[in-house]
């Protein structure tokens, strides 16, 4: 009895043993093919963990933080231990009520382990199947959470089963010797399909899973010797309890994989991608932008040029992080900066911050300086939230129809610069409208006149890029698909921005609106940009649809309501100033126009 207890204790100690740094490093750089791209093991692990835990890390029962690579190694090689780790984040316990899982003593938003959720597995998949038939935009948050949980659960199971063949004895040796019947081989390797770890040695493009190797062997194409050696190494890793032997097998496996991938020219960008995620440019950028904003905000209370300079320096560092992240992504995919919705967020943020700093450089009134870190922080915060909501690799391959760097570099970049400038105009417009409402610098007319000039100038800048970008889009469509304008929702979204900005500028030129009117229009224009940027995707139709993004509707509606309130307050402010002007019987003519 004591002997058994000792073994259990040893096993528990072994299970709790942290992964050796060298092993983690080997696997971090292991190339794997997924979704048409060869990427590091750590990238796959990170997005998998993001889908389950809504974070790129997880804490074990002792509160120790682990990297995504450690997480995936745990699930692959120590599945029994991994099943007890709380890696499934449930945002709303109503989802647990739906699947009939008791959750007494837990918070409404809490983490669960596989073992805790397993009793409700049947009901979870039954409901997920049922909810899957509902259109994404019509699902309730609980229904969406049930579906996401089912996907995460399946993914966890796929990784946990991946090396079952290696834990069943001399499977690979039998396979090599032809001692496995086809049926037995399929049974043993069934489930070994979650990771395409084997780079082909015959020049084929598609990487192989262990299950693929068995299927090919059954079809009369025995695995290449390199693949057999890799399979044996995997088997040794799955079966051994010795850390030294594990690392030795891991070295062999990762070394061979790296060698073949290098020969194929597919390893080149793996270290760079690992560095990209290690740099965590957008998170660090977000932190520095927030710091920049705090420093600039401090100057409002204690005017001091050194504080302002520190705020400027922090914002510039945030922008450098932002730009570095974008540049690395361009290098990794060999593409221009904007390919998907995530790219638009980080790019618009960078352009918005840069434009605000340029405005500050020209005007030196600390308005651009205040707007820059706010835009940066809000933008990168949205990027972070979006990444969690999407929870899939944002470095994605392109559809054939979009495979043209020229148009991506011209039309898409111009349009997104137009978005950024439109949002910046809106941000500065807020300063005017809110300043008027709260009586900021009430007697300083030149202050408001200058803000209005900035808004108008930024609107003009936005119009240039929106018009050129929209027409460029039409030319792309005309030269690639045979129609200049297809009334596709995304095309219409761009047109809405152009029309709104044209209306504002012509209204200003015609004298229909003045400083307050321009500023309120710019706020309205920000709503139009938000709708074109996000709203049209929610319709789920058209060539440009990026797919339904759950959770965005709520954000968009809240944004619209807040902006509506700002505009309403602006109108009230104007009406009050008009009646005040009428009461004093002076300047009435001037006040009749907004």
């Amino acid at each position: 009895m004591r002997y058994i207890a000792s073994i259990l204790l040893l096993a528990a100690v072994a299970a709790a043993a942290p992964w050796d740094e060298r092993t983690v490093d080997l696997f971090t750089h292991l190339p794997v093919q997924e979704q048409g791209r060869v990427k590091p093991f750590s990238t796959i692990a990170a997005f998998s963990l993001l889908r389950m835990n809504h974070m790129r890390a997880f804490r074990d029962s002792e509160g120790k933080k682990h990297t995504p690579t450690e997480f995936l190694l745990e699930v692959l090689f120590r599945p029994d231990d991994a099943r007890s780790e709380k890696v499934f984040l449930i945002e709303n316990s109503d989802a647990l009520d739906a699947i009939g899982l008791p959750h007494e003593g837990k918070k409404r938003r809490d983490r669960y382990s596989y073992d805790e959720l397993a009793p409700a597995r049947g009901r979870l998949f039954q409901l997920a199947h049922e909810y899957d038939r509902i259109k994404a935009q019509d699902r309730s948050p609980v229904q969406s959470e049930v579906i996401d949980l089912a996907h995460a659960f399946l993914e966890f199971e796929a990784f946990a089963r991946f090396l079952d063949f290696g834990r069943s004895g001399d499977t690979v040796k039998k396979l090599k010797d032809g001692a496995l019947s086809g049926e037995e081989a399929f049974r043993l390797f069934d489930g070994a399909s979650a990771l395409a770890l084997f780079p082909p040695v015959d020049g084929a493009e598609e990487w192989l899973t262990p299950e693929d190797l068995v299927a090919m062997a059954a079809a009369g194409h025995p695995p290449a010797p390199e693949h057999v050696a890799m399979l044996e190494a995997l088997e040794r890793m799955a079966a051994t309890e010795s850390e030294a032997e594990f690392r030795s097998a891991a070295s062999e496996f990762c070394g061979r994989s790296r060698q073949i991938a290098t020969t194929r020219g597919e390893y080149r960008k793996i270290p760079l991608e690992v560095s990209y995620y290690k740099l965590d440019a957008f998170y660090n950028g977000l932190i520095v932008y927030v710091l920049g904003f705090l420093l600039v905000a401090a100057t409002w209370l204690w005017p001091n040029k050194w504080l302002a300079r520190a705020g400027l320096a922090a914002t510039a560092i945030g922008l450098a992080y932002n730009a570095a992240g974008i540049t690395l992504r361009c290098i990794l995919l060999g593409r221009p900066p904007v390919l998907n919705l995530y790219d638009t967020i980080i790019f618009i943020t960078a352009v918005g911050v840069l434009s605000a700093l340029v405005i500050e450089f020209i005007n030196r009134r600390r308005i651009g300086l205040a707007a820059a870190p706010i835009l940066g922080a809000v933008g990168l915060f949205i990027a972070r939230r979006y990444e969690v909501i999407e929870s899939r690799d944002t470095l994605r391959q392109l559809q054939a129809v979009l495979d043209t760097n020229f148009w991506l570099a011209t039309h898409v970049v111009c349009i997104t610069i137009g978005y950024a400038a439109g949002l910046l105009a809106s941000a500065i417009g807020h300063v005017y409208v809110l300043g008027r409402i709260f009586g900021l610098k009430r007697d300083d007319k030149s202050f408001y006149r200058n803000i209005a000039r900035m808004v108008y100038g930024t609107l003009c800048f936005a119009l240039v890029f929106s018009v050129v970008g929209t027409i460029l889009g039409g030319i792309w469509a005309n030269y690639s698909w045979g129609r200049f304008w297809g009334w596709d929702p995304k095309e219409n979204g761009a047109l809405l921005i152009v029309l709104a900005q044209l209306a504002m500028i012509h209204a200003r030129m015609g004298g229909h609106i003045r400083d307050l009117g321009v500023s309120m229009s710019a706020v309205l224009g920000g709503m139009v940009v938000a709708w074109s940027w996000w709203g049209v995707n929610l319709l789920g139709v058209g060539l440009h649809s990026y797919g339904f993004t759950g959770g965005v509707w709520t954000g968009l509606i809240i944004f619209g309501l807040i902006e509506g309130l700002v505009i309403f307050a602006g109108v009230v402010s104007w009406l009050m100033s008009r009646s005040a002007a009428a009461a004093t019987d002076s300047g009435a003519a001037e006040a009749t126009t907004v």
């Binding site: 495979d403 003009c460 240039v464 030319i475 045979g482 009334w487 047109l495 044209l502 229909h512 319709l539």
Partner: protein, 381 residues
Amino acid sequence: MNETKNLLAKALDFLGSYSLACILFLLLFILTLFGTLEQANSSLQDVRTKYFDSPFFLTEWGIPLPGASLLLGILFLNLLVGGMIRMRRTWSRVGIFVIHIGIAFLLLSGLVEGITSKKGSMMVWEGQTRSEFRSYYDWDVSILEELPEGRQRAYTIPYERLPRGGKPAVFRADGLPFEVQLSGFLRNCRPEFVQHGSDSVERGIVFRALPPAEEAEQNVPGITAAIVTKDLRREALLWGQQMQPFVTTIDGRRFALDLHQRRWPLPFSVTLRKFTHERHPGTMMDRYFSSDITRVENNVATDVHISMNDPMRHGGFIFFQSAWGPPNARPGQPRYSVFSVVENPADHGPLVALIIVAVGLLVHFLRKLALHIGAEARRRA
């Protein structure tokens, strides 16, 4: 006389005014917004026809709006009068003047495209040759008469003249020994066999009306045709997907009636030699597809490669790689390629307009920026 002149001047003032420009931009904004939202429930083509082609219409939510063509027409006049003819010609406004020329050019090329362009598709299997392309949305009724030596004589009743409801439309032509009565056109339908019923016209088959397809080009129309002479009346159901035309003999002459997508002949033939298709490895996402074709014109054969974003332009026609199939074809099995085919005299209009607009925008706003920077520098000094 003076009053008339004043009225005319006022009308011109309004036509070229900023106020009218603002109203038009706002109306176009509202129209584009509703047109986008309506696409969630209607096909793109239906929305386009309703919002663009009609002078006035009701949105899905019952709001009356003027159509885009009407608004763009007025905008063109506004641009012409206010933005070009009556605009103060000073150096400070050169950029704006150029921008307006570019926008006017863009609207004009859109008009030319709308009136003169032909847009359709051509589906061709590997090894097959075609020398015509078909409209996406317009369906014509053709009457073909077999003549000696394999010749044919064709009469076409165009889509625009097919009866949309009410009483049947009657068509006669010199040389035809009968009149054709068309009725009951259905935009999207399928034939159904009915055991019992009084409305069957052909061996118990009737058309069952279907709701419009999500993509308008997927609609399959049907129409009831009757061939009528003094002595006889023969009725037929013509359906867009029927394999064979309706064939009948009148006075010893054989005629065929067919409902088909409008066909436009090409001055050359296209033979698909090879179709190439690649997916991103391990996914179902298309990475690349292309067609190697041989174009034959006046007995001169030319090999051409057409791929996504790299069309063939020849003789006023443009061939765009559009789709392919069948999706489940195994390696070695024949596949077909689908080209979008466009004949558009204003093909390069948007590019020319963009260049003009871009030059105008740059001139105007760079000048403004330079003035602003100068003023700020003076203020700080």
